[in-house]
Structure formats: structure tokens, C-alpha cells
């Protein structure tokens, strides 16, 4: 179908002097789209030409509109010889194709030349007129929105989350097919830039088609990568999560407008997208509704209900359990496993009072009953899905969609999201990852010339006879990931990502994610808002009925919300079966709710769920490893690498564990492990944010053991070291404000007179859990806790443990979006990229030596960052993203992109939070005293209803099972290995704290806070003619509200120089290139009408140099979402309070 693309060239400025004689330039412009080219007149003798051209009109297919960039070339007219190119601008017009994004592109674009960099600017106007296309067989997917953001974008709400979409496209790399190998740098670079731009467009279009097929309208968490495979070609691949998003209507804007000014803008932002839905107008809740109503009824007239439930006996609970299993997303295997569980539980329960057991079971019972509708659905899903696979059956039931195609897409229940609408993520199993080492050979290319995708559209039709393609490789890996997830009793993988590392003809493919159990809440599309409202009403009834004062109001308000929000510990509860754990782990009862089992350590690739209960602050934890490898060719090389990988991963894991313990933390979020391969070494870098999850047991210390205790000096050495470690741990506890005993005490100490046994039960639990860590030492997981000093590796570990310099005062760092424990961000933010390349001059380095070098490199880099940003103190480096590479034999390259954000030192707010928290807890416990079965109740109210409401029974929660993290190296053939990090889960109860806390917090603080912040942020930048564009790798900007997403930014640049010295050497060259990339990103965003880029990511930075020839080349690929944000202060100006009660509730809910 046709669309009309119109472009107008307005003017140029700051052009370079092209005519030495006159010191001027005779510039004209060529505008090209597809095969059509227009030219402007020559504007003679000026460095600031005013072309003011007519509108150039291109009539094109929308398919082309999606694939092709608009190419603008600025040239210098030369009468006697060929015209000299000044530079080019590529404009991606995709943002204009979606009605909700930008409508016009207008602004100054830097004119870019791959040899000279930016050479002046050009002012361009671009518009698109699209005609409606009703052709069902169209190849275009205009209108599908793309977001790099890995959460539901701020001003949308998720109606449905359809699932994983992926695509890849391959082509010859022009760089390597250059005629006769005579490479003309400019032509080659431009061909590459253009090709990649085309391929990205095509890829996006194809993914869009898949999304449309699935019934979605957007891709969230879109991640596109390039593999420069050298002679074997160029692969562009992308993954994402298909969703159906609804733009929040303006009616709600005021509501959100207030709410950003609450104390925790970050959290707020993440949830608001969802929270706004709370007023529930067009709600799409699944079948769970009846359940919801039920839950609530069970809650408010609590006594009768709870009595009833308590009376239910174990038998009863058994029945529903089976029912539950059918509909739950657990796999059939689990199903069979689960039947013994009640028994074992009963057995176990001999020790603890049986009451407890029956309780949890009854809770379940209710759920399962309410789930009947779900059940039906699941059943029907089974039916239609046929034998689609027993394995995937329940999963599919969960994810079911009407269409067959959609079903097939579910082959991979992966989600690239890292944070979720509340209530979506039920339980987290642990990190799953898979790697595979492949030998690259020429990509089989059946169709000549053109870009061609080798996608096998239907995974199921894949057969081994097909020529091996990149698709097949990835499928293999994804299958493995899937099976790992299954082994963890999880049906989905969240926070999923894929990456490659290529060295010569060896390629390592990696994929990782977090096994999880999700609620079907967003996977079904019937909208039943009536029930929703109903439950809300009940909630408010309850509220008014409550005898408590203000504080309670807060809490009840949030209670009303609980159907939307999982409580702070639920996600920690293990999803797998305690008796059939895929790895050894130590389970204890959740320290929050005391009902469900949690692992002792939890590793995940996702962001910290906003509702999570965290003690103290978090910090960036990195494991770094460097291993030498013999130079080898082809197969031998691949084998060598495969053999090394498991050890590398194992050591990384051990290092992470030790560092985690050293900081007295028990969970990692945002874990990202990068393995990079070079000719003669392998680099491994694992980064994550460590936190202390309140629900998990407190980690034991690190104990050092010597193997030969005979020698006294040796013993002394060890005890010295032990002392050092203990001191460090103590120091870290203080630094990160980790003070868990208090909390435990509080919970235990809370007066719960009636259920005496139960409270005793708790105590015994907590005791046992404390013991557990000690027990650990003598138990299986030695490597995590006991460092044997005889072991050279251990020495190395200890060394690296102790050499990690603490962050300077006033600094915090994390690689996730938000830092637990910091709430009062100011609007000061500084995004930066830093790159270092280190040359190893000593070729005969040992592993230890290499390790030290690499470790120091990273540490020093961090130190430099802290120093650079010292003026922003107190501040936190968020989303610290390290990438390592081995560009050449003796080079190690480390690139970091992160954002530094200041926060108000003023901790009163936080204290306020804590005290409110405590008050609430008291209130709650008191409240509970009056109820007959308080614990049960609160469990119900806080977590269960939620889960069930989502149409998912507490699959995993009620199964008290589990062990801890482990490494699974079972599968390595040529595929290297995969390890499953385990995690934990937990239940909830008493501490519905986080929710309440937040909402009351919001009450307490928001306005003044918001104002002060706005004062600060209002510092105007008047006087500059250039729009200030903020950039951040986060999905939000503190103190602001994103009001519009303008489209995805996905840019690829190459820069080359043949006069390296003259440009300031490698540093000067790269410095200006990165600055230019930033400038071009900003210019494109400004031209779309935006003032910020969120979820900015530098996905690729390939740097090559040849100092002897005075040459260097660099490729950079960046992406992000262009947005318009407004400051809260501006929003506050509009009347802040929404009037309806429900709106109020909603805003307080969002606040959390």
C-alpha cells in the first residue's frame, strides 16, 4: 500500500570549507529514498546555505517505508571534477509510521562522514502520509510500536503480554566482499551503515508482522544485535516481548501527575503504568474475577471465613490441590511430583503444629476453588492444543491464545522484560543460562544478492536436515534454556537476553534469563472490570469498617490494591518441588511470612521487583575472570573453548557467591554474565546488584580453612585472613545498612497471643534458619562458604575479595534500574560512556597475573568514574553496564555505560519510611490479634488473592520445598554448558509491609518533596538554541513524567581515520566519535520533538586500530526510546487532586 513520504531541505550551518581558494563551499543536497533521488539547487559560496527547497515527495510502499532510511547527502558542487561529498544523514522514518508516536521530524541533524566525523548540520523536515491498508497479506507492520524499555512503558498499560518474538536476518558484509579487496574506506563504511540500517528496518518490520499475527500492537524490551561474523557475513537479530498496550487516557494524567511526586519516583514510575489501570475502568482481568471477589469476601468478613478455612482438614486440601495442579502452569512432571507433597508435608508437619499445614492448604483450597474458571480454560486449551506436547501443555494452557499461530509462538515462553506489572511475576526460580560454541562458516545463501532472511517461520517444522543456520543455533539454545527452566519447576523465563562473542571463526552464543512463574493475568484477554470494581468496593467497605486510625487507612487503602500487587516476599518462594530439586540447595522458611520455603541465595537477571522487601541498600557486585587459552584453529579452538567454559562459569559463580557473602547479602538482581573470547584468552565478567532480601535467610560468614593445620604460622596466617574477612563483612553491613536481626526480632516479637504455637513455630524456624547457615559450613555447599586456603584458586578468590575497593563515601552503585534504599532522587543526572583498552605487554602471563590485570582494570575504571562524578555526591551509579572484549591478541577492552543520579542526602524521608513501616507492622499485628487466624489472614489478603486473582494458583508457593544455588554442568558437548542458578522464593504474610509503607509514605511526604525537587530541576537552560536532551539507560527520569514515546532510536555508525595521530591518538579518536554518536542521538530525538532518551544502551563498540599505519576504525551501535517528559513541577501546577475516591486509591496504589 502506498504512503507518501515528504522531505524538505531547509538550511545548513557550520559547513566545512570545501574550497580552499575562497574558504567557502558550494553546497547542494541529494535526498534519496529507495531508488528515487532528488537534488536541491546549489547554494553557492556559503558555509550556512539556505536551500529552502520544495517538498520532495516519494510515493512508496509501506514495506519500504519500514525498511529504508531516508538518505540525505550533502555535497560540494565542483564544476570541473566530481562533486565532493561533505557527509550524510540517515533518518529512520519508522517513528512517523505509528499514529501515537511522532508526527513530523524537523530539526538540525549533524552531517556525518565516516572519515571526518561531524561536519556541520542540516535542517530537514520530514512527513509521512499513510493510507489505510486493509490488505490482509501485507508484508508491512506499520503502527506496531517498539520499545527498548524492558518494562511496560510509562504511559501505557498492558492489556496483554503475548510473549516472545524473535527474528534474524543475514547478509554478506560489504566490508568483506569489497571488489578485489581494494577497500575504499568511505564507500565500504557507508555501504555497511546503509546495509545495517536496511536490515534493522527489515527485521523490525518482520517482528512487527509476528506481533500483529499474535494480536499485539507493540514490542517491549526490544533488543537488536549485530554479529559481525567477518567473512561469513553479517547477522542482525532481535528479540522482544509482544504486548498489547493501551495508551493511558488523559483522564488519568492528573492522577499520575500527583503521584510521581511521592517519595519514590523510581518505583512509582515503574508501576504507574499498571497502577493507573487500577481505577479499573477498562480492565482486562482474566477469569480470576470470581476468585477475587471471593478473596475479598474472605477477607473482610474475615472471622467467619477464616474459621471455616481453619476447620478444613488436610484431606480437603488435598483435593483442591490436584485440581490446582491441572490448571496451574506447573509441568506434568511436577504434577506427578506434587501429589506426594501433601503427604510429605503432613509428615513434616508432625513437628510443627498441624495447624500450620492445614492452614496453608486451606488457603490453597480457596484458591483452587476460585480457579474453577481457569481450570476450564486450561482444559479447553489442552484440548485445542492437542498433543502439542505434554511438556508445554500447562504452560500453553496458561498462555493460551485463541489462535494456533500464537500458540506456536509460545514454543518459547520467554520474556525480555526485567520488571513487571505488579502481580505478574509470581515466583522466581533462578538464573538459567546456556552457551554454545559454534564454528562460523559461510552462511548458506540460496537467494543471491538481496538481503534475505533464513528464518524458519515455524519452529516445529524444523528438521535436522535443514542446512545449519543461525536460527537453528539459537533454537537449540532456547530449547536448553526452556528445559532448564522446567527443571526449576518454572514455566517461563523472564529477563531473557541473548548475546554472542566472536573471535575469528569461533562464535560463542549465550542466552540467559530467570526461570519464573508468571500469573496469567496479562495473558488472557477478557476484560472483567466489574469484578474488579466489586473487589475494590469491598476493600473500601473494609476500610471504612476498620477501627484503626490514619495509619490503618493507609494500609487498607493498599489492601484494596493487593489484588494487583504481590507482597514483598512472594516472588522469593521456591517454585520447584522440594523433593525433586535439580540441584542441592538449602531451604528455609520465608523470613517474612514464615509459610513458604525460600532458598538461601537467589540469583536473577531481572530488576528488583518494586514490591520486594529489602533490608538496607544494595551494591554492584562483579566477578571477573581471565583465563589463558592456547592459540588454535577451527575445530580444535572451538573444543578448547568449550572445555574451558564450564570452569570459567563455575569460578565466576563462586566469585559472585563469595563477594555476595562478603557484603552480607543474599540475592543478586540484574545478573549479566559476559564471556568474551580472544585468540589466546577467555574473559568472563559477571555483574549484578547484590541486595539483602528480607525474606531470605541471612547469609553465613565466610570461613577459611587450611588443609594442613599443623604449621602454627600458617594457622596464624589463616586466622589473620579470617579476621580480615570478618571485619570486611562487618564493615559492609554497616555501609549497606544491613541490619536484619532487628527485623527478624520484630516479626517474632510481635505480640501474637492467640496462635501461640504458631509463634513458637516461627521462632523455631528462625532459629533453625540461623543455624542453617552455620550448618552449611559442614554441609554440602562448601565452596560457597568455606575457602580452603591450600587451593590456589581460593587464594586468588580471597585476594580478589579483599582487593575490591569499597565505593568512596557518598557513592552507591548498582546495575539495576533502581537502588533499594534510595528514594529521594533529584533530577540531576549524568549518563556517560567510558572505554578503556589495556595492552598486555607480557605475553607469558599466568592465569593469576591475567586475573589481576583484568581485575585492576575494572576496579580502576570504577575508581575513575567515582572521581569524575564526585561533584554529584551523594549519588548512585545506576544501570552500570560493563562490556568486555578482546579486540586483539594482547588487548582487553572494557566499556561502561551508566547513569549517575544524585539523591537528597536528607535521610529523614527514609527514616520516616522505616518508622511508618514499623508503626504499620504494629498496627497490623494488633489488627491481627483481634482476628482469629491472623497469619492466615494476612497471607491471604496480601499474597494469595493476588496470585489467584491472576488466575494462577499458588503453584509454587505452597510447596514447601527447595534447596539452593548450584551449578549444572551436565550438558557440554560442543555446546558449552549451562548453569542454573537457583533462587528462591518465599511466601508472605505478616509483612505486607512494603505496600503499606509506601502508600502511607506517599501520604506523608509527597508534595513538599516534589516541590523542592522541582525547584532544583527548574534551573533553566534558557538562552541555548539547542534542545537539551537527557539520556539515561533507565526507563525513567526521576522527578519527571514521560508523557509520550516517540519511537525507537536504533543507530549504527562507523568511523574511520587514516590520520590517527593527528586526531589525538586512539583516545582522541574514540572520544570524539562517542561524543559524535551522542550528538547524533540527541539530534534525532530533538527532531522527533523529544527531550530525552530512556533505556539508552550502547550495544556494540568495536574498536580496531593499526597505529603503525596511523589508522583506526570503530563501530558503535546504540539504541533507546525517544520520549517527551515533563517535570513534575509543571504537572503540579495543574490541580493535583483527582476527585473520585477510586482515583485516590489508585494513586496511592501507584505510589508504592
Amino acid at each position: 500500500m502506498p504512503g507518501k513520504l515528504k522531505a524538505k531541505i531547509v538550511a545548513g550551518r557550520h559547513l566545512p570549507v570545501m574550497d580552499r581558494a575562497s574558504d567557502l563551499t558550494d553546497a547542494f543536497v541529494e535526498v534519496k529514498f529507495g531508488n528515487t533521488t532528488f537534488k536541491t539547487d546549489v547554494y553557492p559560496k556559503s558555509l550556512n546555505p539556505q536551500w529552502n527547497s520544495e517538498w520532495f515527495k516519494f510515493e512508496v510502499d509501506d514495506e519500504d517505508l519500514q525498511d529504508e532510511p531516508l538518505q540525505i547527502t550533502v555535497l560540494d558542487h565542483d564544476t570541473y571534477s566530481a562533486n565532493d561529498a561533505i557527509g550524510k544523514v540517515y533518518i529512520d522514518i519508522d517513528p512517523l509510521l505509528s499514529s501515537e508516536a511522532a508526527t513530523v521530524i524537523s530539526g538540525w541533524f549533524p552531517i556525518y562522514d565516516t572519515i571526518h566525523g561531524i561536519r556541520g548540520e542540516i535542517n530537514v523536515l520530514v512527513k509521512v502520509e499513510l493510507f489505510n491498508d486493509l490488505n490482509r497479506f501485507r508484508q508491512s507492520s506499520c503502527g506496531v510500536k517498539f520499545f527498548c524499555t524492558t518494562s511496560i512503558p510509562r504511559c501505557y498499560r498492558a492489556v496483554m503480554v503475548h510473549g516472545f518474538v524473535e527474528e534474524l536476518v543475514v547478509n554478506e558484509d560489504p566490508e568483506y566482499q569489497w571488489i578485489d579487496r581494494i577497500r575504499t574506506p568511505r564507500a565500504s563504511n557507508e555501504a555497511r551503515q546503509r546495509l545495517i540500517s536496511l536490515m534493522s528496518g527489515e527485521l523490525q518490520r518482520k517482528i512487527g508482522l509476528k506481533v500483529l499475527e499474535m494480536g499485539g500492537n507493540a514490542v517491549v524490551g526490544y533488543l537488536q544485535c549485530f554479529d559481525l561474523e567477518g567473512e561469513s557475513g553479517l547477522v542482525v537479530r532481535a528479540i522482544g516481548t509482544a504486548c498489547t498496550l493501551d495508551k493511558l487516557s488523559n483522564t488519568y494524567t492528573p492522577a499520575t501527575a500527583i503521584n510521581p511526586c511521592n517519595s519514590s519516583p523510581s518505583k512509582d514510575i515503574k508501576e504507574a503504568g499498571f497502577g493507573e489501570e487500577a481505577p479499573g475502568v477498562p480492565l482486562s482481568s482474566g477469569p480470576p474475577t470470581p476468585l477475587r471477589a471471593q478473596t475479598f469476601s474472605s477477607f473482610s468478613p474475615s472471622k467467619s471465613y477464616s474459621r471455616q478455612s481453619s476447620s478444613s482438614d488436610t484431606e480437603l486440601s488435598l483435593t483442591p490441590k490436584t485440581a490446582r495442579i491441572c490448571l496451574s502452569p506447573s509441568s506434568p512432571t511436577l504434577q506427578s511430583k506434587s501429589s506426594p507433597i501433601p503427604t510429605t508435608k503432613a509428615l513434616r508437619s508432625t513437628t510443627p503444629p498441624p495447624l500450620h499445614v492445614s492452614q496453608s492448604d486451606t488457603a490453597m483450597l480457596r484458591k483452587s476453588v476460585s480457579f474453577s474458571e481457569d481450570l476450564l480454560l486450561a482444559a479447553s486449551g489442552m484440548g485445542s492444543g492437542g498433543s502439542a506436547g505434554k511438556e508445554a501443555g500447562p504452560l500453553k494452557a496458561l498462555l493460551r491464545q485463541q489462535t494456533q499461530t500464537a500458540l506456536e509462538q509460545r514454543e518459547f515462553p520467554f520474556f525480555t522484560l526485567t520488571s513487571f506489572p505488579p502481580g505478574f511475576l509470581l515466583h522466581v526460580g533462578g538464573v538459567v543460562s546456556a552457551r554454545s560454541v559454534k564454528l562460523l562458516d559461510r552462511i548458506h545463501n540460496p537467494a543471491l544478492g538481496n538481503t534475505r532472511s533464513y528464518k524458519l517461520l515455524d519452529w516445529n517444522s524444523f528438521t535436522a536436515d535443514e542446512p545449519e543456520t543461525r536460527d537453528a543455533w539459537w533454537e537449540e539454545i532456547r530449547q536448553e534454556i526452556k528445559s532448564h527452566a522446567k527443571a526449576l519447576g518454572c514455566h517461563a523465563v523472564v529477563g531473557y537476553s541473548e548475546s554472542t562473542s566472536i573471535c575469528e571463526e569461533v562464535c560463542i552464543l549465550s542466552a540467559s534469563g530467570t526461570a519464573a512463574i508468571l500469573s496469567s493475568r496479562f495473558m488472557q484477554d477478557s476484560a472483567l472490570d466489574t469484578e474488579h470494581r466489586l473487589s475494590r468496593q469491598q476493600a473500601s467497605v473494609f476500610t471504612s469498617g476498620a477501627e484503626k486510625g490514619e495509619g490503618d487507612m493507609g494500609s487498607t487503602a493498599s489492601l484494596g490494591f493487593e489484588d494487583l500487587m504481590s507482597p514483598g516476599c512472594a516472588f522469593c518462594h521456591i517454585p520447584y518441588d522440594e523433593l525433586n530439586m535439580p540441584f542441592p540447595a538449602q531451604l528455609t522458611y520465608c523470613h517474612c511470612c514464615r509459610r513458604y520455603k525460600v532458598p538461601d541465595v537467589l540469583f536473577t537477571t531481572i530488576d528488583l521487583p518494586t514490591e520486594a522487601n529489602v533490608t538496607g541498600k544494595g551494591c554492584l557486585i562483579q566477578a571477573r575472570l581471565c583465563r589463558t587459552k592456547k592459540k588454535a584453529q577451527g575445530e580444535g579452538n572451538a573444543t578448547a573453548i568449550s572445555n574451558l567454559l564450564p570452569f570459567l562459569e563455575y569460578e565466576l559463580h563462586t566469585q559472585l557467591m563469595n563477594k555476595l557473602k562478603l557484603r552480607s547479602m543474599n540475592a543478586l538482581f540484574g545478573l549479566r554474565i559476559q564471556i568474551s573470547v580472544g585468540e589466546n584468552m577467555l574473559l568472563g565478567l559477571a555483574s549484578a546488584t547484590g541486595v539483602y532480601l528480607t525474606a531470605l535467610p541471612s547469609p553465613g560468614g565466610i570461613q577459611i580453612a587450611g588443609k594442613t593445620p599443623s604449621d602454627i604460622t600458617y594457622e596464624q596466617h589463616i586466622s589473620n585472613m579470617q579476621k580480615k574477612i570478618n571485619d570486611t563483612i562487618a564493615k559492609n553491613k554497616e555501609l549497606y545498612e544491613i541490619n536484619p536481626p532487628d527485623l527478624v526480632e520484630e516479626v517474632i516479637g510481635s505480640p501474637i497471643p492467640e496462635p501461640r504455637q504458631r509463634s513458637r513455630l516461627f521462632r523455631s524456624h528462625s532459629e533453625s534458619s540461623d543455624e542453617v547457615s552455620e550448618l552449611d559450613l559442614s554441609h554440602g555447599k562448601k565452596d560457597a562458604f568455606v575457602l580452603e586456603i591450600d587451593d590456589t584458586d581460593a587464594v586468588e578468590d580471597i585476594h580478589s575479595l579483599l582487593t575490591d575497593a569499597p565505593t568512596p563515601p557518598g557513592f552507591y552503585s548498582c546495575n539495576t534500574e533502581i537502588m533499594p534504599g534510595i528514594y529521594n532522587w533529584t533530577s540531576a543526572l549524568q549518563m556517560f560512556t567510558s572505554v578503556r583498552v589495556f595492552r598486555l605487554s607480557n605475553v607469558n602471563l599466568t592465569n593469576q597475573g591475567l586475573n589481576k590485570v583484568f581485575n585492576d582494570l575494572c576496579e580502576n575504571l570504577l575508581k575513575s568514574l567515582y572521581f569524575k562524578l564526585r561533584s554529584m555526591v551523594p549519588c548512585c551509579l545506576c544501570h552500570v553496564n560493563f562490556t568486555v572484549a578482546v579486540p586483539e591478541d594482547e588487548l582487553i577492552q572494557v566499556a561502561v555505560t551508566a547513569v549517575a543520579m544524585s539523591f537528597d542526602k536528607d535521610q529523614t524521608q527514609e527514616n520516616g519510611r522505616q518508622s511508618i513501616d514499623k508503626n504499620l507492622m504494629k498496627a497490623i499485628t494488633e489488627n491481627e490479634d483481634q482476628l482469629q487466624f491472623p497469619l492466615e489472614l494476612s497471607a491471604e489478603s496480601s499474597s494469595n488473592p493476588l496470585n489467584s486473582a491472576k488466575g494462577l494458583s499458588e503453584v509454587s508457593g505452597p510447596l514447601p520445598s527447595a534447596r539452593a544455588p548450584s551449578v549444572d554442568y551436565s550438558s557440554f558437548t560442543d555446546r558449552c554448558s549451562s548453569w542454573i542458578e537457583q533462587l528462591r522464593l518465599k511466601a508472605h504474610t505478616i509483612r505486607c509491609g512494603s505496600i503499606k509503607t509506601m502508600s502511607s509514605l506517599e501520604k506523608a511526604s509527597p508534595l513538599p518533596e516534589g516541590r523542592s525537587r522541582s525547584l532544583r530541576s527548574n534551573r533553566s537552560y534558557a538562552g541555548s538554541s539547542v534542545t537539551v536532551v537527557k539520556m539515561t539507560p533507565l526507563s525513567f527520569i526521576p522527578g519527571t513524567k514521560i508523557i509520550k514515546y516517540l519511537g525507537i532510536i536504533n543507530m549504527f555508525f562507523i568511523r574511520e581515520t587514516t590520520s590517527l595521530r593527528e586526531e589525538g591518538g586512539v583516545s582522541g579518536f574514540l572520544h570524539s566519535f562517542i561524543a559524535e554518536v551522542f550528538a547524533m542521538v540527541r539530534a534525532h530525538v530533538a527532531a522527533l520533538g523529544g527531550n530525552a532518551v530512556v533505556s539508552y544502551n550502547m550495544k556494540e563498540c568495536v574498536f580496531m586500530e593499526n597505529p603503525n599505519k596511523n589508522q583506526a576504525q570503530c563501530l558503535i551501535n546504540v539504541s533507546g526510546d525517544a520520549v517527551i517528559f515533563v517535570r513534575e513541577s509543571e504537572l503540579e501546577a495543574t490541580p493535583p487532586q483527582p476527585h473520585s475516591a477510586s482515583a485516590q486509591t489508585s494513586s496511592s496504589g501507584e505510589g508504592t
Binding site: R13, H14, W108, P110, I118, E121, P808, Q830, M831, F832, T833, S834, V835, R836, V837, F838, R839, L840, S841, N842, V853, N860, K863, S864, L865, Y866, F867, K868, L869, R870, L891, Q893, Y1021, A1022, G1023, S1024, S1025, V1026, V1028, V1029, K1030, M1031, G1064, V1066, S1067, G1068, L1070, H1071, S1072, I1074, A1075, E1076, F1078, A1079, R1082, A1083, F1103
Partner: protein, 357 residues
């Protein structure tokens, strides 16, 4: 083993004022690091020398990249490469164009040519300011000179507009341009005691009163070139010394006015004719370019030095010049009142400024 490449790029360009100053001062990276270490940043921020070196190199590189823009400050505001908040931009520009009085004093009134630039190492040696910094300053003078040379309108305004400089700095540059254009001699030994600020003040006086711009403000070079007609008219003042009656009359009027009011009355009375001749001769000779160049040295030789040797105080000078100027107005036969006022106004303030006790 070495760090081969080390860059840091912020979306908002990070610039440390202190490091910027070190860069402007022409320090090498290593020297700058030393200065910073002595300044105590390290203790403040728990940094190591390595970190400091990396930071300094990085910033120096940033400044180098910015330098091109700083040379055309108007560009800085609408370039896209560096995102710099406007207040920072203003700081960068102001400091980039700031100069050392000692340096400018050396080149003041000289032709801003390559030859002069070559002599900058002497300037550097004499002033103790790095050659690099001297060159930057010299290039700034030259750049401003070239740009405003051919512009219409008031000099100071033009400088402000094209280089986005604050008022005082723009005035200083105007003085430098004015001196360079008229090639006033300032290097003679007798003038060594005068500072740049003295000359800048005088330049201001001359620009405001003696240039074409003082009468007509829409001509080229209006503030750079002296008003030719006025210089021509100055010849008429000669009558004050050539006409014996007039001279005596003038003298007696001044003596009457000053009697009893100054301790150096006798010296004044004895020297009156000499002094008056000196001043009027300066006026009469200003039509010759050569004599324009010697304007300041003439003032010193013909007026300031004689007074000094007679131990006049600044007050005495002031008193004398006031009455000397005013008395001429009372002379019936003296017809050139306007020219006299325009001339003496400038002379008086210049002399007062140049008269250091």
C-alpha cells in the same frame, strides 16, 4: 602493560573549572596532575595519582576538542557535539578569553603579526607564563582584531556580540584592538611603569572622544581610527603657544587661579610655558601617524616627567590641568573652544591615570 586508550564521555560534558584553568595556563598533563595533587584533591576524594592522571588527560582532551568552538563562541551555543549548560558555556568562553595583563602589556600596540608571535617566547620567559598560554592569548587578540576590524558599529558592542564576552573583558579587548590598530608605542623604557589597565583606560578615553565613532556611529572602523578632521583641527590650537599674548594671558589666568592652592606653585609658574607648549605641540603633531604612535611617550616626556621632577602630587596635576583647560575658555581671542575641550578632556584623564606617584 599499559592503558592504551582511556576515554570518558558524558552526555552533559563534564568540565572541572580547576582543570580548565590549568589547561588554559598551558600546563602539560603531568604538570597539571602535580598541581592537582598538591591542591589536595586526592585526599578529598580518595583518588590515586593514576585516577587523577586519567581524569586530567581526559579533560584536557575535551578542552582541546572544544577549543575549535571556543574560537568562535557564537558556535558554541548552537553546536550539537557537546551538551554544555549555558552557564558553563559562558564560563568556558570567559576564561578562554581571559588574559594576563603582563602578557598583553608586552604586545600592546605591536602589530599582531607572525613576527610578534615569534617573539612570544621572550614574553613567556619574561612573564613566567607558559608559551602555550601566551600563544593562546595572542591568538585571541589577533582573532578578535580580525573579526571586529571590518565591522560597523561600536567596537565594544561588536566584541560583546561576536565573542559573547562580559562587558569589562570586551572593553579590554577593545583597548587591545585599538592599540594594535594605531600601533601606539608602549614598549619604551619610560613607559614601562604603566600597566595594561592604565593603557586600557586611556584607550577607552580615546575611543570615546577622539574616534570617528564619537561623532558618527555608523561608519566602518569608527571606533578604531582617530577622527581625521579632529586631528586636523587640533593644529589650530597652536595659537595658544605661538601667540605670545595669548600664552601670557593664559599663564596669568592659571596662576591667579592656582595661587595659594598648591605647594608647587612656583615650579608651576616657572614651567607653565614649557608644559603648555608640550601639550599643544602634541595636539598639533597628531596628524602624523608617527606622532600618534608616540602619543603616550610624548605625554610622559613633555608633561609627566617635568611634573614629577618638580614633585607634583596627583592633586596638583589635577588642579593644574583643570584650570589650564578652563582658563583657555576665558581667552577672548581663542576661538577653538570645542576642539580644545575635546582634546583636553582626554588629555587630562589620560595624564591623571598615567601619573603614578
Amino acid at each position: 602493560m599499559s592503558v592504551e586508550l582511556d576515554v570518558f564521555v558524558g552526555n552533559t560534558t563534564i568540565m572541572d573549572k580547576e582543570v580548565y584553568q590549568l589547561w588554559l595556563n598551558g600546563y602539560t598533563v603531568n604538570d597539571a596532575v602535580k598541581v592537582r595533587i598538591e591542591g589536595g584533591v586526592m585526599e578529598e576524594c580518595e583518588a590515586s595519582a593514576e585516577v587523577l592522571l586519567s581524569d586530567t588527560m581526559d579533560q584536557f582532551r575535551t578542552f582541546q576538542m572544544c577549543e575549535r568552538l571556543l574560537q568562535n563562541p557564537a558556535k558554541l551555543a548552537n553546536q550539537l557535539l557537546f551538551q554544555i549548560p549555558p552557564d558553563r558555556q559562558a564560563m568556558l568562553i570567559e576564561r578562554y578569553y581571559a588574559f594576563d595583563d603582563d602578557v598583553v602589556r608586552e604586545v600592546l600596540g605591536k602589530k599582531l603579526s607572525k613576527g610578534t608571535k615569534k617573539d612570544l617566547d621572550d614574553v613567556s620567559a619574561k612573564t613566567g607564563i607558559t608559551l602555550k598560554s601566551c600563544r593562546r592569548q595572542f591568538d585571541n587578540f589577533k582573532r578578535v582584531f580580525k573579526v571586529v576590524e571590518e565591522l560597523k558599529g561600536p567596537l565594544v558592542e561588536n566584541i560583546k556580540q561576536h565573542f559573547l564576552l562580559p562587558d569589562q573583558l570586551a572593553r579590554d579587548y577593545a583597548a587591545i584592538v585599538f592599540f594594535a590598530n594605531n600601533r601606539f608605542e608602549t614598549g619604551k623604557k619610560k613607559l614601562q611603569y604603566l600597566t595594561f589597565q592604565d593603557f586600557a583606560f586611556c584607550a577607552g578615553q580615546l575611543i570615546n572622544n577622539w574616534t570617528v565613532g564619537a561623532v558618527d556611529n555608523m561608519v566602518e572602523d569608527m571606533d578604531v581610527d582617530l577622527d581625521k578632521e579632529f586631528l586636523q583641527d587640533l593644529k589650530d590650537l597652536k595659537i595658544l603657544i605661538t601667540d605670545k599674548d595669548l600664552l601670557d594671558q593664559h599663564k596669568s589666568l592659571v596662576c591667579v587661579a592656582l595661587r595659594g592652592k598648591t605647594k608647587v606653585f612656583n615650579e608651576m609658574e616657572a614651567n607653565f610655558k614649557n608644559l603648555s607648549r608640550g601639550l599643544v605641540n602634541i595636539a598639533a603633531k597628531l596628524t602624523n601617524t608617527k606622532d600618534v604612535r608616540d602619543f603616550f611617550i610624548d605625554l610622559v616626556e613633555k608633561f609627566i616627567e617635568p611634573c614629577k621632577s618638580d614633585k607634583w602630587t596627583a592633586t596638583d596635576v589635577n588642579l593644574y590641568l583643570t584650570h589650564y583647560t578652563n582658563s583657555a575658555h576665558i581667552l577672548d581671542t581663542f576661538k577653538h573652544q570645542n576642539v580644545w575641550t575635546r582634546y583636553m578632556g582626554v588629555i587630562k584623564s589620560c595624564i591623571l591615570r598615567m601619573y603614578h606617584e
